[in-house]
């Protein structure tokens, strides 16, 4: 009898927790949902008070409008191109460096590695001015170089891959080398397939970091054609231009959707990567 009672209490508790959590994630995601439904409203529905979740009709006019209004398509393409380039270059460059640190003994390897690690502690705001001065001196302002090259390598990516490569037994390299494979061949044919989760993590983080970046693109680009999507978004908040919230929300949805879709597909890697490394995306 008492056991039954206890079981019932436990059930009630679990149901309550479940309901509370459900309510919590719903409230937490209200801004998100609101943004999506607003993007599907028509202009006049945006000014209704009290605010309604859904407009009087479902319409994609907002999307059509931003697509043609500002060079928004261009912004999206810029961001896509830059983020992909950053993601790919970081995997390649970081894996080359990580392989050297993990597998090739050379004088001062440890010291150089620590210097690399040291750069992780320098926050972006501190080096934005020197970076800007360098990029300006190179004549790279308003070019893709400025948006890609300074982001193309990070000590953290090297660090992550090095730790992963270290776990791969030496014997595999030795065997490959015995068979006549060079260093690069070892890296690409032995390490890459074995380190796929780590490489993917680096690639995804880098893509996300680049896609979401704001300060650096704001500083080094001025021309409309070189703008990235996040900067394009912030310009929409300007009250002097003729744009309404349904259209702005459509723009936000376009700027956020690629990330969210990517996240849904790879969320397992993603969330695991965060818990293993403690990295804040």
């Amino acid at each position: 009898m008492q056991l039954m009672e206890e079981k019932r209490l436990r059930l009630v508790r679990v149901v309550l927790i479940q309901l509370f959590l459900l309510a919590f994630v719903l409230v937490l995601n209200v801004p998100f949902v609101w943004m999506v439904t607003t993007s599907l409203k028509i202009r006049k529905d945006v000014f209704i008070y009290p605010p309604q979740l859904f407009g009087s009709q479902l319409s994609f006019k907002g999307y059509a409008y931003v697509w043609t209004f500002v060079p928004f398509a261009r912004y999206l393409l810029n961001s896509l191109f830059i983020s992909t380039a950053v993601g790919v270059s970081r995997v390649i460059l970081a894996s080359l460096a990580a392989y050297a640190f993990a597998k090739i003994p050379f004088a001062g390897s440890r010291q150089v590695f620590y210097i690399f690690l040291g750069t992780m502690m320098i926050p972006f705001e501190v080096i934005v001015i020197p970076n800007y001065i360098i990029v300006k001196a190179l004549g790279w302002l308003d070019t893709y170089y400025a948006l890609i090259v300074p982001l193309s390598i990070r000590a953290f990516s090297i660090f992550l891959l090095r730790q992963f490569f270290l776990q791969i037994p030496r014997e595999l390299d030795d065997a490959a080398e015995m068979d006549g494979a060079g260093r690069l061949r070892c890296l690409f044919t032995i390490m890459y397939p074995l380190a796929r989760p780590a490489l993917l993590t680096v690639c995804l983080y880098s893509f996300l970091e680049s896609w979401n970046s704001f300060f650096w693109p704001l500083v080094v680009t001025n021309k409309d054609t070189m703008r990235v999507v996040q900067i394009g978004l912030s310009a929409l908040a300007d009250p002097t231009i003729s744009i309404q919230w349904n259209e702005i929300c459509a723009a936000i949805a376009l700027a956020t959707l690629p990330i969210v879709v990517m996240f849904f597909f790879v969320q397992k890697y993603f969330l695991e990567g965060i818990t293993i490394t403690g990295m804040k995306a």
């Binding site: 801004p31 998100f32 979401n212 300060f215 908040a237 936000i252 700027a255 990330i259 969210v260 818990t275």
Partner: protein
């Protein structure tokens, strides 16, 4: 880094040649009321959002750690705000905080609160910026705390239960102490990240009204890229670096045990 240090000792507007001014940039900095205002804004921001996001996410993580249905679903939903680009998140909140037809003022009207002009009110603008910060930070915190909770061996709970401890006692005496390294790690990471708050401010308020939301990074941006005071802005950057460096050292000293590098 070296370039930043050297630049901070000069007066330079990018056009005319650099002029060596020694420590005068730093002297000017510490005399400028704007700098102290920026420092105050940044501290209020950090002190406001880090504990708030931490408490919410610990509660949520503890509940997620109960044997609930659909954990993967909840993990995704909790993390969604965290991956949203800050510029997008800030813009969504600008819409929600709209004084006349925004959702937040509408909800507040049920509690008899009159329409607030969030982003134009010097007393409220920083609070509005902090809302976005908390909204975005909860996901990261909760996921890490949850991982920390899952690494606590079940035998501790069993032992406590046999000794007759109730739920509150278990959380207070077992869960939280065992979790403290994780909480410390997150707190430091978030303090460092919050000290760098820029994007939300740029999108929502541009540092206004009347400097009420001008954080150190925003102050740096204004000086470097709007007024072209590269030397002065570099001095600001170095002060920010020193502050962040102290927290980074804290993390290295005490956080090492927890971070599974």
């Amino acid at each position: 880094m070296g370039v930043a240090l050297v630049t901070s000792l000069h007066k330079w507007n990018l056009l005319s040649p650099m002029r060596f001014v020694g420590l005068r940039n730093y002297v000017a900095l510490f005399k400028a009321p704007d700098f102290w205002n920026a420092l105050r804004v940044t501290i209020v921001y950090v002190v406001g959002i880090v504990p708030t996001a931490l408490v919410i996410s610990i509660v949520v993580a503890i509940l997620l750690n109960e044997r609930i249905l659909g954990l993967p679903f909840f993990r995704i939903m909790v993390y969604l705000p965290a991956i949203t680009p800050m510029a997008a998140a800030a813009l969504i909140f600008v819409h929600l905080l709209e004084p006349d037809f925004g959702l937040i003022n509408y909800v507040l009207s049920f509690f008899g609160i009159p329409k607030l002009r969030w982003l134009n009110d010097p007393g409220l603008a920083l609070l509005a910026v902090m809302m976005v910060g908390v909204w975005k930070d909860i996901g990261y915190n909760a996921i890490i705390v949850l991982a920390g909770l899952q690494s606590i061996p079940g035998v501790y709970y069993d032992a406590a239960r046999i000794d007759g401890a109730n739920r509150v006692q278990i959380v207070g005496r077992i869960t939280l102490p065992l979790l403290s390294p994780v909480i410390f790690f997150i707190a430091v990471v978030q303090v460092i990240a919050s000290l760098q708050v820029f994007t939300s401010i740029k999108v929502m308020t541009s540092g206004g009204p009347a400097g009420a939301t001008e954080s150190i990074p925003y102050y740096l941006y204004n000086n470097a890229f709007r007024y072209s005071n590269m030397g002065y802005a570099s001095a600001v950057a170095l002060v920010l670096f020193v502050i962040i460096f102290v927290f980074t050292m804290l993390q290295f000293r005490f956080g090492e045990r927890k971070v599974h590098y």
